[in-house]
Symmetry: C2
Subunit: 371 residues, 2 copies
């Protein structure tokens, strides 16, 4: 038995994505821009397929779509576009992000700082949302871009997107929203100027990502000069279509399983707590803290019993630091683990996870002498 509750870091490619992709690997593998049948067939194959991606994030025909090789690639393309068009040409070299952001954005900002830009990191409030007053204060006339997640994966807390967008409009700065963890989980609108997400977090492939841009915003042409990766794009659009079709499963059944999981954990483990319980949260994420245990020890035990979860690390922010940045008590942050379900998660997996977590917490509390 196992329970895969680490859909933060990878999701299972859905069978529809793999099936739709297959012909483009086995038969129609020509270069999509080649001026002959084997090229043109590939482009025709995309007819009517990109629409699902537009629908998924509420984009309109006027918005531009770029297929990218990953979610990180999409984020870097946004940063690079703004850097080349605004920082270098107009001297707008300040970038604002929240303290809740993920590695690709933080690494991208670090690179921009090496090139002479400045990154302002805005703190979060204790409810896990970005501090809007501090966001406003962080923006100055030299700010080029505000970049935030619709909902960070580890906390699952939905950010006040409309308010953030209003501030950016008022102060005339561009807004980039990464929806990697929100896409396919809640219904989205194209708020802001750029939207990015990763294929491998929504049952597509690791070799896929998406960037949408509103008309007229800074956007350098892709540096690639290579051929379009039609197989991966086909898989991404199939995954998008499945995500649309199953949005209600996510909002009803997955949310029910998540709530069941949380209730049973609270019942079985005295002192366990749900973090950010009163905030709006993604329906598939459960961020819990367990008293008297250290998150790394608990995660190790869970992983040994094939209950897969996350505390961040190289490619997420460290959950511990992220929680401290939200004003969490150190001992609560030290015992926190994040669980992310997917629409494929079963009740059996959840029940196995509950039992395993309860046993592991009890064991750790015993050997550490209780709380």
């Amino acid at each position: 038995m196992s329970a895969y509750l680490d859909n933060h870091s990878a999701t299972k490619p859905c069978s529809s994505a793999l099936e739709r992709m297959r012909p483009y690997l086995e038969e129609e593998w020509g270069a999509s821009f080649a001026p002959h049948q084997k090229g043109i067939d590939q482009l025709h194959a995309l007819d009517g397929r990109i629409e699902a991606l537009y629908d998924l994030i509420g984009a309109t025909d006027d918005d531009r779509f770029f297929f990218t090789s990953s979610g990180a690639d999409a984020i870097h393309h946004v940063l690079n576009s703004v850097y080349l068009e605004l920082s270098r040409k107009e001297g707008k070299c300040r970038f604002v992000a929240s303290c809740l952001e993920d590695a690709p954005l933080l690494q991208g900002l670090k690179r921009l700082e090496e090139q002479g830009c400045f990154a302002e990191i805005v703190p979060s409030k204790p409810d896990g949302t970005i501090d809007l007053e501090k966001l406003r204060a962080a923006i100055d006339p030299r700010t080029a871009l505000v970049s935030i997640s619709w909902a960070p994966g580890l906390t699952g807390v939905l950010q006040p997107i409309e308010e953030i967008a209003a501030i950016c409009r008022e102060l005339d700065v561009y807004l980039h929203i990464d929806v990697t963890y929100a896409v396919g989980k809640v219904s989205l609108d194209f708020v802001g100027d750029y939207i990015t997400f990763a294929g491998d977090r929504m049952h597509g492939l690791k070799s896929s990502g998406a960037l949408f841009a509103k008309p007229g915003v800074p956007l350098v042409s892709s540096l690639a000069g290579g051929t379009l990766d039609v197989p991966s794009l086909t898989a991404l659009s199939a995954a998008a279509q499945q995500s649309m079709l199953t949005l209600d499963i996510m909002g009803l059944e997955t949310a029910r399983l998540r709530n069941h999981f949380e209730e049973r954990i609270l019942q079985s483990i005295p002192g366990a707590e749900i973090l950010f319980p009163d905030s709006l949260r993604l329906p598939n994420v459960s961020l819990l803290s367990f008293p008297g245990v250290h998150q790394e020890a608990l995660l190790y035990l869970l992983h040994r019993k094939k209950v897969f979860a996350a505390i961040g690390g190289i490619y997420h922010q460290q959950l511990f630091r992220l929680l401290l940045a939200c004003g969490c008590e150190e001992k609560v942050a030290a015992g926190a683990i994040s669980f992310a379900l997917s629409r494929l998660t079963t009740e059996k997996e959840i029940d196995y996870a509950i039992e395993t977590i309860a046993g592991a917490v009890r064991f750790l509390q015993t050997i550490s002498g209780g709380v």
Copy 2:
């Protein structure tokens, strides 16, 4: 019947690549850096697989390998590394390339020029090789990098790599060699400081590319901050292994088919000529010029009859311009088409191609009133 002789722009993913990849799409799809079994299994799966890539280009254990999302991505990573480490930090902002290079490099250089760098383009000699004296003259103390192809795809002419490397060593500039069209066609050594190639030109996937770097050369860490695309990397290493195993097929059987193709074309079409006949050429490429026809008209007819070939375009250099740059007569350049076989090309395809080309050339010569 058809004949796919456009292996310049895409090659068929080999069955070994697809089969080796499949488990990583269907079962072992975890994030490779996740600290649990589903992550660790992926890394274990790569044990002993990367070696084939090292072998393919003659790299040693000391050399560093980066998996990239395409050949273009690999080239941009080299340019970006040199730009950030040498141009910005030491003021070395000159880049030298040959006039035979492909779109990803040329686009990358254009972007660098927008950022204040200079690109020097060295002309070619009439035999299709870079002019070594002009190369030497183009390098000055502010030159950071020389970037050339081992063999450009459209001409197939092998470049004097050892001599180029000697000049770069003597003048103390870094050398990047793109081996996209040469890899798996001829045996390679790791000459120079960087080697790049594209997976989709050697029977891997479009979502794969490789960058090798000698120890100590400028190399910024990958901006990605994302997860490793294990499926595409697995496919690339399987494709590399197959390329190694079939290098003799390429050198013997594919070369024989290419020679047969050229002989029969010369016999059937009076005035047809092989371009760069006395240069060392890739065993799979045939660059031919047909008298009294326009390359675009001929290519159109061939494509209608499913004989697929190339004259360059967006993602290659234009063959016409490239040939003029080599000092070719305009009317010879205007009638030129490049054919690229692969190890999967059959004698039947070649015979069909010969017959179709001969018929199409005759037809075009007739309607244009002969030569």
